[in-house]
């Protein structure tokens, strides 16, 4: 696996017009898929809930509706969806190029770390300028961390999965070092992170709720740019060609290696942007768990939509609503909120199964 000189084509990286084809599929096929996905997921998670002694109906009601309870939870939902969208959009780039960018978690983290630098060094600049600086620094940080994966993959032949995973752990190590070392709170260093930023530097929110409109706006723009670049430009076509067959693309004159690097750089920049938003709009400080698993969740989103940018938005909202909805489970039902992850993972697993069954039929 690690020694293969060419990139293996990711089978689920369908060409862009797949959305149209999927819509045109015979209704029976769609029904079979939906049946496998929804039926399988419900059956499995219900069994898991029963095994833990919880009433499944009550749990489902809370998970599905919890995110839409009141303006506050809706604000939380939007603030989780924004970075998730950015990461998912970035991953559609790398998936189209046939790369499993498991290093995305680290790219978010380094983006957040670099975003902290201007905020700490130049706190007297006018806030809008600082936000711009922090967002740019975040994007650059994520991009550099992703390019490291690219260099390891393309120049030294280290499988991008292991390079990325290793770099994730290193990124978290850097964060821990900063939080407990040079950037520690005056007095006591703790897992709760660095000293919170002065409120003037937070991204402005709507009155009364924690919704910073700039975050979803940036996310939607990022997603739009990726969708356009992948499906409407020659550059996007070349990325997909490189993803389907690296050697063949190279032989046909496509600068395939450069395209792989660029897809990683783009994904890293978007992930870094997400990390900067986590600082500016969500946590207002650098905390050890700054990525909150959003990168891996985005990988699940993209595996489910099969690098088809059109479906990224609804699926990202759905997955984020599971995560927000399950936050109240420990209080209300006394069960762990990781059931959201079980639900998301099972959904993707059965989506893969449905895809396989359809492929055979």
């Amino acid at each position: 696996m690690a020694d293969k000189p060419t990139t293996e084509a990711v089978p689920e990286a369908l060409p862009a017009p797949a959305a149209l084809r999927a819509l045109a599929l015979p209704a029976a096929h769609l029904l079979t898929s939906a049946g496998i996905i929804i039926g399988g997921t419900l059956l499995f998670t219900t069994l898991v809930l029963l095994a833990s002694g919880t009433s499944p109906l009550e749990a489902y009601r809370l998970i599905l509706s919890g995110a839409f309870r009141n303006p506050r939870t809706i604000a939380d939902l939007i603030m989780l969806t924004a970075p998730l969208l950015l990461c998912s959009a970035g991953l559609t780039l790398t998936f189209s190029a046939g790369l499993y960018n498991l290093g995305i978690e680290g790219q978010i983290v380094i983006g957040a770390v670099l975003a902290m630098v201007p905020l700490r060094l130049l706190p007297d600049l006018p806030p809008p300028m600082l936000w711009l600086l922090a967002l740019s620094a975040g994007a650059i940080g994520g991009m550099l961390w992703a390019l490291l994966v690219g260099v390891l993959r393309l120049s030294t032949n280290v499988n991008e999965i292991f390079a990325g995973l290793g770099l994730n752990f290193i990124a978290i190590g850097i964060t821990l070092y900063l939080v407990f070392g040079p950037w520690k709170r005056p007095g006591v260093a703790s897992m709760s992170g660095t000293e919170p930023l002065p409120e003037a530097l937070w991204l402005p929110t709507l009155a009364g709720i924690r919704l910073a409109p700039l975050a979803p706006i940036i996310a939607l723009i990022g997603m739009g740019v990726v969708w356009f670049a992948l499906t409407r430009t020659h550059w996007g076509l070349e990325i997909r060609a490189a993803g389907l067959n690296l050697a063949a693309a190279e032989r046909l004159g496509v600068p395939a290696h450069a395209r792989l690097f660029q897809s990683l750089a783009g994904c890293g920049a978007l992930a870094g942007l997400a990390g900067a938003l986590q600082i500016l709009a969500v946590y207002h400080a650098l905390i050890p768990n700054i990525s909150s698993g959003i990168g891996f969740l985005a990988l699940l989103v993209v595996l489910l939509v099969r690098s088809n940018p059109v479906w990224v938005l609804p699926v990202a909202i759905l997955f984020a609503s599971f995560s927000i909805g399950s936050i109240q489970l420990p209080l209300q039902l006394g069960i762990d909120s990781s059931i959201a992850g079980v639900l998301q993972g099972t959904l993707v697993l059965f989506a893969l199964i449905a895809q396989g069954v359809r492929g055979r039929g």
Partner: protein, 330 residues
């Protein structure tokens, strides 16, 4: 450090690496049969939790291990169904299973966090434990750790000295040829992936029922990914893979010990060092087949470049040729 301390450290390395030995031997068998099981990290957590929970309820260590092996096989079965049966990307399914099993272990293991459980009893071997030096290092452990010593030569002997092992390797190298010679490729692959899954399950329980003796959320997260990297480092050869496990174990022991010796260095460096080393090692084992690096080495002064090339050539490993490619009946 006096001799006594060195002996204790060596014994700790051998014991600490035992779960990794089980996990990597399982994955070596799986990958030799041509299947990548990327779900290791989550699967180990889920089987660690299950083994511990069964141990708590039955007060029986052995049943805990049986349950853990069963969970490992069950997850492997799902992987086989989706990747061998439906021929979908093994990487994708493995990754999803890794995340899913991690969350399952957190959710279902909720009520077992930090409760007292059962543990593998220590079992020093009579007579042998009194041997000078060797007794302390090798013969004052428990049954699980003795089993890890025996597992490595056993897997090597099976892979390279038996007829069945030859067939197993053929599954990963030339499945079509094996099929033409009458080998039932898919059923055998299923069998070996399940066997590998059982060993990985035992590895998970080895943490909760032996080394760490307890369960908490994600407490061995990351180990599975390390195990996967060690298999590559070891070039799918049991001896070298085992060497990788002990090297990693030594690094961990060294990290915890030197934290006291060198208090000025931030502890995070030691926590991260294994992962940085993992990347470096993967660069090295791939260096032999890397033209850019080869050119750099050739520019080194002659007395230096020769030995460097020889070392890299020895480190160089090649994966089973058909690794990760679902078999299609011709």
């Amino acid at each position: 450090m006096d001799t006594q301390q060195i002996l204790i450290n060596l014994a700790a390395i051998l014991a600490g690496a035992a779960p990794l030995i089980f996990a990597t031997m399982g994955e070596t068998i799986t990958e030799r049969a041509g299947v990548v099981n990327l779900s290791l990290d989550g699967k180990m957590l889920l089987s660690a939790m299950t083994g511990f929970a069964v141990g708590v309820h039955t007060q029986n260590v052995l049943l805990g291990f049986v349950a853990a092996a069963g969970v490992g096989m069950l997850v492997a079965l799902v992987l086989c169904f989706v990747s061998l049966g439906l021929r979908l990307s093994q990487t994708a399914v493995g990754f999803v299973l890794a995340l899913l099993c991690t969350d399952l272990s957190s959710f279902l293991g909720n009520s077992y966090v930090r409760v007292p459980g059962v543990a593998v009893p220590a079992m020093p071997i009579p007579v042998l434990q009194d041997l000078p030096i060797l007794g302390k290092i090798l013969f004052q452990h428990d049954l699980l750790i003795y089993a890890s010593f025996l597992l490595v030569p056993l897997v090597w002997w099976f892979l390279f000295r038996t007829r069945a092992g030859l067939t197993l390797r053929a599954l990963g190298e030339r499945p079509t040829t094996a099929y033409a010679r009458g080998v039932p490729v898919l059923p055998l692959q299923l069998f070996y992936v399940l066997l590998g899954g059982a060993l990985v399950g035992i590895a998970g329980a080895a943490y909760t029922l032996d080394l760490k003796q307890g369960w908490s959320y994600r407490h061995i997260a990351g180990t599975g990914w390390i195990a996967l990297a060690i298999v590559i480092f070891g070039g799918w050869n049991p001896w070298r893979v085992a060497f990788g496990c002990y090297l990693f174990g030594a690094l961990q022991i060294f990290a915890t010990r030197s934290q006291n010796l060198l208090p000025n260095i931030p502890t995070q460096i030691f926590q991260v060092a294994p992962f940085a080393l993992m990347i470096l090692i993967l660069v090295l084992v791939n260096a032999g087949s890397n033209p850019t690096l080869q050119r750099w080495i050739e520019q080194l002064p002659a007395p230096l470049s020769k030995p460097v090339q020889q070392v890299l050539a020895r480190l160089n490993t090649a994966a089973p040729a058909a690794l990760g490619q679902p078999f299609r009946r011709p």
